[in-house]
């Protein structure tokens, strides 16, 4: 079975197959890039949405991230580092977005996004009122936890446990050494462990899932 068939059948590509796709895309192969985009769009959208909590902004930013990736792909030296490189672009775009929003909020042109945690989540996606309340509560806990983290702790913790990157990928994404990543992660997990309200919430959600009739 060749690479194209594998991708069409939604079989997760191996590292070598991904590298081949990146190589092809780097040479200007649009089909190869579209396949890379299809493979990574969900995780990039998730990364952006988790950090902006706005569906429309996340859609625009995801589009922008992939356009930037396509534009600057010839500059990527090591095709094995495509994923951390893409995440780096995504984090930079999200940071730019927050910087711009803060500046506009400071000027009074837009409202601060501090309280926009659940505002952009459409009701039709969440017809159950209880789910909406749970969702709102969850984002509130996440925000409180994030406030306790330093900037690096926040980046490292969310990249590890929400975006599911391994230590090496996080180090490559943030341009830090693995030991530095471990130190930030260690501090962040300590703070996470100390946050009893979030622990209780997770425990409750867990129990709720278990108790659901199958």
């Amino acid at each position: 079975m060749n690479l194209t068939e594998d991708l069409e059948l939604k079989v997760p590509p191996t590292g070598a197959q991904l590298s081949t796709l990146v190589e092809k895309a780097r040479e200007g192969d649009r089909d190869a890039f579209e396949k890379l985009m299809a493979l990574h769009q969900d995780e990039i959208f998730r990364l952006v949405f988790f950090r902006t909590r706005s569906r429309i902004d996340s859609e625009d930013l995801t589009q922008d991230i992939f356009m930037s990736a396509f534009k600057y792909l010839p500059q990527l030296k090591d095709s094995d580092r495509f994923r951390p490189w893409l995440y780096r672009i995504a984090l930079n775009r999200v940071n730019d977005f927050h910087r711009k929003n803060n500046f506009l909020a400071y000027l009074g042109i837009t409202e601060s996004r501090e309280d926009a945690d659940v505002a952009d989540i459409e009701p039709h996606l969440d017809p159950d009122a209880l789910d909406t309340v749970i969702r709102k509560e969850f984002w509130l806990h996440v925000r409180q936890l994030a406030k306790r983290f330093s900037r690096m702790e926040k980046e490292v913790f969310f990249l590890r446990f929400v975006d599911d990157l391994n230590l090496r990928e996080i180090a490559q994404t943030l341009h830090k050494s693995e030991s530095a990543v471990k130190t930030h992660l260690y501090r962040a997990i300590r703070k996470f462990k100390e946050d009893t309200t979030l622990s209780d919430f997770i425990q409750g959600e867990w129990q709720g899932e278990k108790d659901k009739p199958s």
Binding site: M37, M67, K71, E122, W139, V162, D164, I189, K193
Partner: protein
């Protein structure tokens, strides 16, 4: 009971502490060999580590579950890979060469000579204009009236030609005065 060396000191513990559990969650291979062996053998420590790991994993799952699924998928708009980057990127060496070329153009002797030539030509032109102007002034001094006025104020007319200060005194004296002076 575990006896292990940390920062040159021998430590004696019965179970892994909270910090060591966190370290094990982050990277178990990074743990001290003795601690790692204890972790694999001690069910209590293992359970603690797995509980923390599960909580973190659950946090990730819930976070991912709160993301909307039916979002607008990104599309590749019509540009070729690296096209924009190539169009807008100027190689630093090329930029330096261009700057030096512009500088050289301004400092080259040809430019300086051309500048001198330009200055001289302007001076010559101005001198010619001055000479022309002075010639006009001189001609006006000699003959200030237009030609028809000169005809009117010819030698047969009465009175002094006050409009012609350049005329000689002999011409300015009227015939009556000439006559009177003769009588005197």
């Amino acid at each position: 009971m575990i006896l292990y060396r940390e920062n040159g000191k021998v430590k004696k513990i019965s179970h892994l502490d909270d910090n060591q559990i966190i370290e094990a969650v982050i990277d178990e291979k990074g743990l001290n060999g003795l601690l790692r062996r204890h972790l694999s053998e001690c069910p209590a420590c293992r359970a603690q580590k797995e509980m923390l790991q599960a909580r973190l994993a659950r946090f990730g799952e819930i976070s991912r579950g709160k993301i909307p699924l039916g979002y607008r998928k990104p599309k590749l708009i019509e540009i070729n890979a690296g096209e924009m980057a190539k169009a807008w990127t100027i190689h630093p060496a090329l930029a330096i060469c261009a700057a030096l070329a512009v500088l050289a153009l301004f400092l080259t002797p040809i430019v300086i000579n051309r500048d001198n030539l330009f200055t001289k030509s302007v001076v010559y032109r101005e001198m010619l204009q001055d000479e022309k102007f002075m010639a006009e002034v001189r001609s006006l001094e000699e003959n200030p009236l237009p030609s028809f006025s000169v005809d009117i104020s010819g030698p047969g007319s009465n009175g002094p030609n006050i409009a012609s200060p350049g005329h000689s005194a002999k011409n300015d004296v009227s015939p009556a005065l000439k006559h009177g002076s003769r009588n005197a």
